[in-house]
C-alpha cells in the first residue's frame, strides 16, 4: 500500500492520507472514509474500487479519477467535447502529452477515468461496463 501511496504522491502530487485504503485481492485497491473503515461489522465489501496494479503504474477507476483528479497537480488530460464523447464510447484518443504513463481524463469539471499514454495514443482504460453503447 505504501508503494501505491508513494506513486500517487509522486505521479499526481496527491496525498490520500485523509482516506482509508484497503487491498482487495492481489492487485486491486479500494478507498473509503476512515469512519466507514473503523465501523465494526461483518461486511461483503466497503467503499469503492479505486485502482489496479498494471505494468506501467496503476489503472485508476472512474471514481478514483474524481477523488485524485480534483487535487492532481499533473498528468491530467483535458479532452474536447468531441473527444470526450468518443472516449466514453471506449475509443483510444490521439493526443500529444509530455511523457508516457497514466493520465486522468477530464472534460470540463467532470472526470472520466484514466488512460495510458504510450507516446502516441491515450489508451482507454475505462471498463466496458462504464462506457456508452453505440
Amino acid at each position: 500500500m505504501s508503494e501505491f501511496l508513494a506513486w500517487i504522491r509522486e505521479w499526481f502530487g496527491v496525498d490520500l492520507s485523509g482516506y482509508s485504503l484497503i487491498r482487495s485481492g492481489k492487485k486491486r485497491i479500494r478507498l473509503l472514509t476512515k469512519e466507514a473503515a473503523g465501523f465494526d461489522v461483518k461486511d461483503v465489501i466497503r467503499g469503492v474500487y479505486l485502482a489496479k496494479k498494471a505494468p506501467y503504474g496503476y489503472i485508476i477507476s472512474v471514481e478514483g479519477s474524481y477523488i485524485i483528479g480534483r487535487e492532481a497537480l499533473r498528468h491530467v488530460v483535458e479532452l474536447s467535447e468531441e473527444e470526450f464523447r468518443r472516449w466514453m464510447k471506449g475509443e483510444d484518443i490521439v493526443v500529444e502529452l509530455p511523457e508516457r504513463g497514466v493520465y486522468l481524463v477530464k472534460f470540463g469539471p467532470v472526470f472520466a477515468g484514466s488512460g495510458y499514454y504510450n507516446g502516441e495514443v491515450l489508451h482507454n482504460l475505462v471498463p466496458k461496463s462504464r462506457t456508452v453503447e453505440p
Partner: protein
C-alpha cells in the same frame, strides 16, 4: 405497456377492496396505473455541480422539470430513450430513480456524521441518495438478503462513488443479532412488498395480487420492521416505506410498531401532495395517530404509489 389495463387482470376482490379504499377515485387510480410515469433522475452533487450538469443536459435538448421534494431530483420531460446509456449516467453523475422513490430518504433526512442503516437496500437507489445527503460523512450500512441483488447494489455504490457505505449480506429479520441492539441513529426499511404502486411500470404486481400473498408479505414486513426498530438507538428515527397501497402492508405494520412504543412524526416534504394514513381498515382500528403516515397516490403527483411512515424511538 399500452393505455388501459388488460381485460381480466383485475381480480373482483381487488376491485371491491380498492373501491372501498378510494371511493370515487378508484377509476382515476386505475387510469393512472395504466400509464407509464414520466422518467426522472437524481443528480449526484458529490460528483458534479448540479447547475453545470443541468445546463449541459438542456444544451443537448433535454427538458427537465425540478421535483419539488428533493433538490437534486428532476423529471425528464424530453431526453434520450435510454437514460441509463449516456456519458453522464455512466460516470455516476445521475441515477435513474422514480420521483416517489426519492421521498423516503428525504423523510429520514440523515445528517453528515450519523450512523445510518438501510436494511433492504438493493439495488441501492435510496442507499446512494442517503450517502449523498450525508455528504459522504458518517457511516451508512447497506444490507440486503439476496446475493444477486447485492451485486447490483455494489455496482451502483461504485458508480455513484458512495465512499462511506459498507455493504452487508444478511436476513434483516435477524438485524439485532447481526448488528447489535440500538446501533444506529437512523434506519430506513424500504420493505419488500406486493409492489402495487409499481403497476405503472409493469403489470406483474396486479397479476400476482391476492389477499393470501399480501398476508404473507405483511408478516415478513412486520418481522423486518420490528428488527429495524430494535437496532435503532433511543431517540433515533426510522422510516418504514413501501411501494404499495395495501393497508395490511402499511398502516398495519406501523400500528404494530406503535405497540412497541414507537412514536409517529409527520414527515416534512415540500410540494408533495399526500393523503393521511388510514385510521381503520377492515377489522382493524389503527387510531388517529396513523394519519401522520403518508399515502402517496399515483394521481396526486404523477408518480408510482408509495407509503411512508416516520417513527421515533423515545429516549
Amino acid at each position: 405497456m399500452s393505455d388501459g389495463i388488460p381485460e381480466g387482470l383485475i381480480k373482483p376482490e381487488f376491485e371491491r377492496r380498492y373501491r372501498k379504499l378510494l371511493g370515487e377515485e378508484y377509476d382515476i387510480l386505475l387510469s393512472f396505473m395504466a400509464r407509464k410515469p414520466t422518467p426522472s433522475i437524481r443528480l449526484n452533487p458529490m460528483k458534479v455541480d448540479p447547475g453545470w450538469l443541468v445546463a449541459k443536459l438542456e444544451e443537448s435538448g433535454w427538458v427537465l422539470e425540478p421535483i419539488p421534494w428533493y433538490e437534486y431530483g428532476y423529471r425528464v420531460r424530453k431526453g434520450p430513450e435510454r437514460l441509463g446509456n449516456t456519458e453522464w449516467h455512466q460516470l455516476g453523475l445521475y441515477y435513474v430513480q422514480e420521483a416517489a422513490s426519492m421521498i423516503p430518504p428525504v423523510a429520514l433526512s440523515p445528517s453528515p456524521g450519523e450512523r445510518v442503516l438501510d436494511l433492504a437496500a438493493s439495488p441501492g437507489s435510496k442507499t446512494t441518495q442517503l450517502s449523498e445527503m450525508m455528504r459522504h460523512e458518517g457511516v451508512l450500512v447497506a444490507n440486503d438478503v439476496t446475493p444477486d441483488r447485492v451485486d447490483a447494489l455494489i455496482a451502483n455504490i461504485q458508480r455513484m462513488g458512495s465512499i462511506n457505505v459498507i455493504v452487508t449480506l444478511s436476513d434483516g429479520r435477524r438485524a439485532p443479532q447481526f448488528f447489535g441492539e440500538e446501533k444506529f441513529d437512523k434506519v430506513l426499511l424500504d420493505a419488500p412488498c406486493s409492489s402495487l404502486g409499481e403497476v405503472r411500470r409493469s403489470w406483474g404486481a396486479l397479476a400476482r395480487w391476492s389477499p393470501k400473498s399480501i398476508n404473507k408479505i405483511a408478516k415478513l414486513q412486520l418481522s423486518l420492521a420490528k428488527a429495524a426498530y430494535r437496532v435503532l438507538k433511543k431517540g433515533g428515527v426510522m422510516v418504514y416505506s413501501t411501494c404499495t397501497l395495501e393497508p395490511k402492508e402499511n398502516e398495519w405494520v406501523v400500528y404494530n410498531l406503535l405497540k412497541l412504543g414507537a412514536v409517529l412524526e409527520e414527515p416534512q416534504l415540500e410540494g408533495l401532495r399526500w393523503r393521511p394514513g388510514l385510521e381503520r381498515w377492515m377489522d382493524w382500528e389503527f387510531g388517529s395517530e396513523l394519519r401522520k403516515t403518508m399515502r402517496i397516490y399515483p394521481q396526486d403527483n404523477d408518480t408510482i404509489g408509495f407509503f411512508v411512515g416516520l417513527l421515533r424511538k423515545p429516549m
